[in-house]
């Protein structure tokens, strides 16, 4: 849930091991909590939303995510990175666009009030540490 200063956008990303593909359900609320609109965001080619973030950029909500492979019984990272924008009444202003083709896992956003910075990175292989 993020605020635009005069309302909110509530996101729910379907979470379930086998109920792929995961999509994003968005509901816009006024400051008083009155629904302004709803929408669903789905990635193309059956990709599922994996890690995601949302910010208010100043005139739109910017949503970014990484993707999971379709029809996978394992939550295998497909690694592409996507971005879309959503209005304050939950209309999708621009369809999801791919900004990285593969190999990435983590995505974060930060707003500067007139735009945003999107950062993404691969998730390195796990490393176990033993404290002595």
């Amino acid at each position: 849930m993020k605020s635009d200063g005069d309302g909110y956008l509530v996101l729910r990303v379907a979470e379930g091991f086998l109920d792929l593909p995961h999509t994003v359900h968005a509901m816009a609320l006024s400051a008083a909590g009155v629904p302004r609109g709803v929408t669903t965001i789905a990635l193309p080619d059956g990709l599922s939303v994996n890690q995601w973030d949302l910010v208010w950029s100043g005139s739109a909500y910017v949503f970014a995510c990484s993707a999971l492979q379709p029809q996978s019984t394992l939550r295998k990272n497909q690694g592409s990175v996507w971005r879309t924008s959503i209005s304050r009444d939950a209309n999708v202003l621009s369809p999801p666009s791919r900004v990285e083709t593969q190999g990435m896992s983590e995505v974060v956003l930060a707003s500067n009030g007139t735009g945003a910075l999107q950062v993404w990175a691969a998730l390195p292989r796990a490393r176990l540490a033993v404290r002595r």
């Binding site: 849930m1 605020s3 909110y8 950029s57 100043g58 005139s59 739109a60 910017v62 971005r83 879309t84 924008s85 202003l93 621009s94 900004v99 990285e100 990435m104 983590e106 974060v108 956003l109 930060a110 707003s111 500067n112 009030g113 007139t114 735009g115 945003a116 910075l117 999107q118 950062v119 993404w120 990175a121 691969a122 998730l123 390195p124 490393r127 540490a129 404290r131």
Partner: protein, 209 residues
Amino acid sequence: MTAQLVDAAGAALGLPFPVTHSAPPQRHQEVAWNGQEFLVVWSEATGLFMGRLTADGNPIDGRGVQIANEDAAPLGFAVAFDGHAFIITWTDVSALFAQRVRSDGAVDGTPVIVGEQSRPYFINRALPATVAEAASWHGSTVVRCAARCFAMACRRLPPNSSRSPNMLPSLRSSSMAATTSLPWRHRSLLRHRVHGTVYPLAAMSGCFA
């Protein structure tokens, strides 16, 4: 680790660029904006690092500046801007730390221990304060004490100080099944859930005064 600036409508501004020249792989990242620059915080196998970016996306700190020396990557971390300085919080297996970073990128003093715990803290987000409380930091932390025991703890760092933080009351309940939180200015929407019933967190006096 790569970044790209986007305009208010979400359209790309220029090409993606590297955030750091660090050779080791980076994992996890958080970003905050102070009105002039971004501060990106990330972890590597040897600890926690930070690097500033100008408003137009130029990295200032090259490889990045190490702010926590660990023999393992931190368990979790977050960054926020409190109106005067960036506040970076992170956890290891024993404690939750906070470190101020001035807008010029200088690390302000040494990390303070916000809380110690026999079990790891799991940071939700470091939440920025309101403008009226810009000199203070307001953090919201979800603490997992045991498998079925959750708690929410809040600590306030004295303004412009790296001394030990005030110890505001912690919300701790073995029956607190889940917590959610929003930035401080929307505190009326802060909620916690106990046995399926949602209560306004702001009604809990003391913690968010």
